[in-house]
Subunit: 405 residues, 2 copies
């Protein structure tokens, strides 16, 4: 059997994630890795989860924890999330919340909801690699969302018209406004308002990936794009923003619980999609997340913020001290990443090869984060899983490495 | 915002499942429902799961249970499943096994893998409603797989050529060979061999949905299509059959754990797809399923088989006694369903309305199980969640109802 005889055309766009392939090679204890970008397992609230699973298996909950359930998600969790959304300027109720198997599933479903082959998705450059992976399955074209530019709504409209060439139209802008993966950067209030004005002019959806939003260490919180749009439009049912949240960075990723917050029209369509795609996310994961979130969310997030913040400080201090002239780096106010830009003559993937072989350090080369492959001289460093001592030593080695070219 | 302005074309084919909408109306305690087709929650191995979750939260397992994991699934579970597949004539190893969030996700991913818009999927008539739902998202055409017919390979080849009209080609045949949902019927050994010969002639994949396969009550087990194909081709790497298994009907559906068993070429592509779509199924669900399956699978399945078998007996006896002349019904050797065919002048959906209003019984009308909507005079009855007494009383009422037309 030649499987290529029966494959759908989309398969040509589905490739292995460079990062995931890379991570498989890094399971060597003497390597100081800044490659991951995953939460530190030492910070998981294991005791709270352990108690939650025990509760879920009591006669009051066990039959519903183990039985088929509704596609929209476990109602008590949806209610808790709706309350949290209210606190960040997004007044809504449980019917505006849809539970997904991690926010990665939200991105897959939103690609499925919005993209026909040939449609255009606007993405930042660089953008979250996993979003490109999710969208690719639906065969979009990409155009650059220069979220930080001062382009006028009129120019945006012209751009949208140009991309609508009979094969499709611009469907949405995708971005992470807070401590974005991979750069760690945050979009300013003015930038957010300008982006929403452009989206209005283009009549497109806005997908706000808020995976890191709860992890602000300092600086003042800026309202989510969805909050600003609701303020302008008078309510969530009129908003064009689809917000994707996640418990992966705050509680634990292994349970795969995320959510979408949006107008009920969108939620209803996502529910139909999930009914056909996996029926529902595991009930037990949702139930346990609900118990744990209600019991310890704020206190736990405060605790991990303090730890990640200290690691960020260690990394920024070491970078300031060790980087050779000409190297620049971002200064994130939260999240897990610093984006380091090196000499444009260097390819970060080649730098990585030498980093692993000779310096026993690792990071993710930046090329894969560009939909158009336009740059190769950036590196993503994560401080989330390293101790301050490892960060200090690892960045010292990185400085030596960069000076060796 | 008019969401229809930005939706992908596939949305026009994504509709609410009649059955799921119906089930919402049936939460009334005085109704005897044969509509569900879900496992009896009283039979869930709750104590074993409870112990499994406790083990998963011990220091040995907790960090990996809560952390990100690999897209192909939890290796010890994949190894156990590979061993089970060997016992039913499918020699394979863990690398031929891919863990999905229930077998519904397997159907979604296989549609995504194989269908470009305009391609043709061959399905039985009737077929599993959820398969149509999953495939619809990828905009196929359907043609009828008359799995029980004596069509020659030559005729099949001609049929395939006819369906390949430049807009697509026939990609796969989908069927459930054992105690199929909705009919309860089983495909004979000769029927299986004929179907594989047709698939060879057409050069298409075969998707074998084995959700109910472990629930055989009596009669002799027939090898899975995949086992027969492996026997003919010399090994799983040469087989065109993609086998979809599930723990939903044997252990518990709420954890959403199923699997695909296929050639490594297929598995590798599904892993890439999952990486982009939801990263991985929840680790804890997989870990707990592994612990429980290794401890009690055979013994537990023997127990639930005995109970479902007795319910099937009660339903067949009551149908033989109560059905008016002209009504026919299948005699399943396992699974959860009996398929009842009534007077072709009646529409089972209208019969259901009167059944609920006046007789306080429920079933699923058969129309939704036909991709082409060609028949309306069948009803699907499930005996899985009713006691023998309820079955006796419910079928007595059904007889009175059918005689009232």
């Amino acid at each position: 059997m030649q499987w290529t005889d029966v494959l759908a055309t989309r398969n040509s766009r589905m490739k292995a994630s460079e990062i995931r392939e890379l991570l498989k090679l890094l399971d060597q204890p003497d390597i100081i890795s800044f490659a991951g970008g995953i939460p530190d397992p030492a910070l998981f609230p294991t005791a709270a989860f352990s108690k939650a699973f025990e509760t879920a298996m009591t006669p009051e909950h066990a039959a519903s924890a183990l039985q088929y359930s509704v596609s929209e998600g476990y109602k008590p969790l949806r209610e808790w999330i709706a309350g949290e959304m209210g606190k960040i300027g997004v007044p809504c109720d449980a019917d505006n919340i849809f539970i997904t198997s991690g926010s990665q599933q939200a991105l897959d479903y939103l690609g499925k909801l919005l993209i026909s082959p040939g449609d255009t998705a606007l993405v930042t450059a660089p953008t979250y690699l996993g979003a490109l992976g999710a969208f690719n399955a639906y065969e979009p074209r990409y155009a650059r969302l220069d979220a930080f530019s001062n382009e006028t709504p009129e120019a945006a409209q012209a751009e949208a018209a140009e991309a609508s060439d009979g094969k499709g139209r611009v469907k949405f802008a995708y971005l992470s406004a807070d401590f974005a993966n991979p750069t760690g950067e945050t979009l300013s209030l003015e930038g957010r308002k300008a982006l929403l004005a452009r989206a209005d002019a283009m009549n497109i959806a806005v997908i706000e990936d808020a995976a890191y939003q709860s992890l602000r260490f300092d600086g003042e919180a800026i309202p989510p794009l969805q909050a600003l749009d609701i303020e302008a439009k008078g309510g969530i049912e009129n908003s064009r923003v689809i917000y994707c949240g996640s418990f992966s960075k705050t509680l634990a990723p292994g349970l795969r619980v995320g959510w979408v917050c949006a107008a009920k029209d969108v939620i209803g369509r996502l529910v139909l999609m999930k009914q056909a795609a996996d029926l529902h996310s595991p009930t037990l994961s949702q139930m346990a997340t609900n118990f744990v979130a209600r019991e310890i969310f704020d206190e736990h997030v405060a605790k991990i913020r303090a730890i990640y913040s200290s690691r960020r400080d260690a990394m920024l201090a070491a970078l300031a001290r060790e980087m050779p002239e000409g190297v620049t780096f971002t200064r994130p106010e939260g999240g897990m990443f610093v984006w380091v830009t090196i000499d444009p003559k260097l390819d970060a993937a080649e730098v990585l090869a030498r980093a692993v072989a000779d310096y026993r350090i690792a990071f993710v080369p930046g090329g894969a984060f560009y939909a158009d492959g336009s740059r190769r001289n950036d590196m993503r460093l994560s401080y989330s899983c390293a101790t301050n001592e490892q960060i200090d030593e690892g960045i010292t080695r990185l400085g030596r490495l960069l000076r060796s070219f």
